[in-house]
Amino acid sequence: MLDPFAGSGTTLVQALESGYDSVGVDIAAFNCLLMRVKTNEHNRFVLERELRDVLRRFESGEGVAGRPTAYVASGSHLRRAATSCASVRSPPTTSTETCCGSYSHARLGPHVGRLISISTFRANRSSSRTGATSTDASASRSSALIISLRRYTLDTLARLKEFARVRTRRSAGRVAR
């Protein structure tokens, strides 16, 4: 089946569960990122180990303002993220987000990188909703974000594991960009 307005990929997920081959098209690259995370087949043991490693590194202080992580020490992605971060007015951004964003592209494998990107944005949206604002001290906002990042990363992982149990052995179609 085909979904020409596939959004975050709910139709594809349902098709995989029901045993249909499916192709999803979407104009929004962020939706495509969500779709990939939701429909790719992961080695969930490797994925979990790598994600927990990323979280541990963040929690030990890598990636916060003034402490660049080894993952993002170099590379054009960091520079681009840092530059664009400075130009974004709303919603508020912090160096934590910059690093999370860069993290995903620097050294991590594509599966882990995409998943961390998604978790970062879920975490950030959540902390914006719960009242954190750009006027909060950036340190407290950073620590709130890191707590949310753990919560959303583990939640996303749990959802993927649950889906892996019910998905049938069908492909979601070839990935082409």
Binding site: M1, L2, D3, P4, F5, A6, G7, G9, T11, L12, A15, Y20, V23, G24, V25, D26, I27, A28, A29, F30, N31, C32, L33, M35, R36, T39, H77, R80, A81, S84, C85, S87, V88, P91, T93, E97, T98, G101, S104, H105, S117, F121, A172, G173, R174, V175, A176, R177
Partner: protein
């Protein structure tokens, strides 16, 4: 998964079914709602190709452009469909745009189901229904 505009892509296929829920005019800006993700991750921004973006409003001209865009997408889907394949569209068509859209796309409405939507959030009040349209190639 294909990133792009169905109107420009060469669709793989043929498909047994098209199952979708299209954007509706004037409701959501799909790129803008995740703007900083685009900036931070350097994602391709194709907002100019969004159909029915909230930013374009719901003027007569905007609705005309919307209907034209959606019918072009469904015409392309129809071409990629097997002869007896169905197109299933979930939409709350409160402006009654879809009879004309389907006709222009070369599709014939076969069934129309009304579906009550259980809201997950209490942000909007009132009952909410959406239609499930089932069509085939005319």
């Amino acid at each position: 998964m294909l990133h792009g505009d169905t109107r420009d892509l060469e669709l793989p296929g043929p498909f047994d079914a098209v199952v979708t829920s299209p954007p509706y005019p004037g409701l959501i800006d799909y790129h803008e709602q995740h703007r900083y993700a685009y900036e931070l991750l350097g994602l391709d921004d194709l907002r100019q190709r969004e159909i029915g973006a909230a930013a374009r409003g719901t003027s007569k001209a905007a609705l005309t452009a919307y209907s034209e865009g959606i019918s072009t997408v469904f015409a392309a889907c129809g071409d990629a469909l097997r002869p007896r394949g169905r197109v299933v569209i979930v939409v709350n068509d409160r402006r009654d745009l879809y009879p004309e859209i389907l006709e222009r796309a070369g599709l014939r409405l076969e069934q129309r189901y009304q579906r009550h939507v259980n809201r997950r959030t209490g942000r909007r009040a009132g009952e909410y229904f959406e239609d499930v349209l089932v069509a085939r190639r005319a």
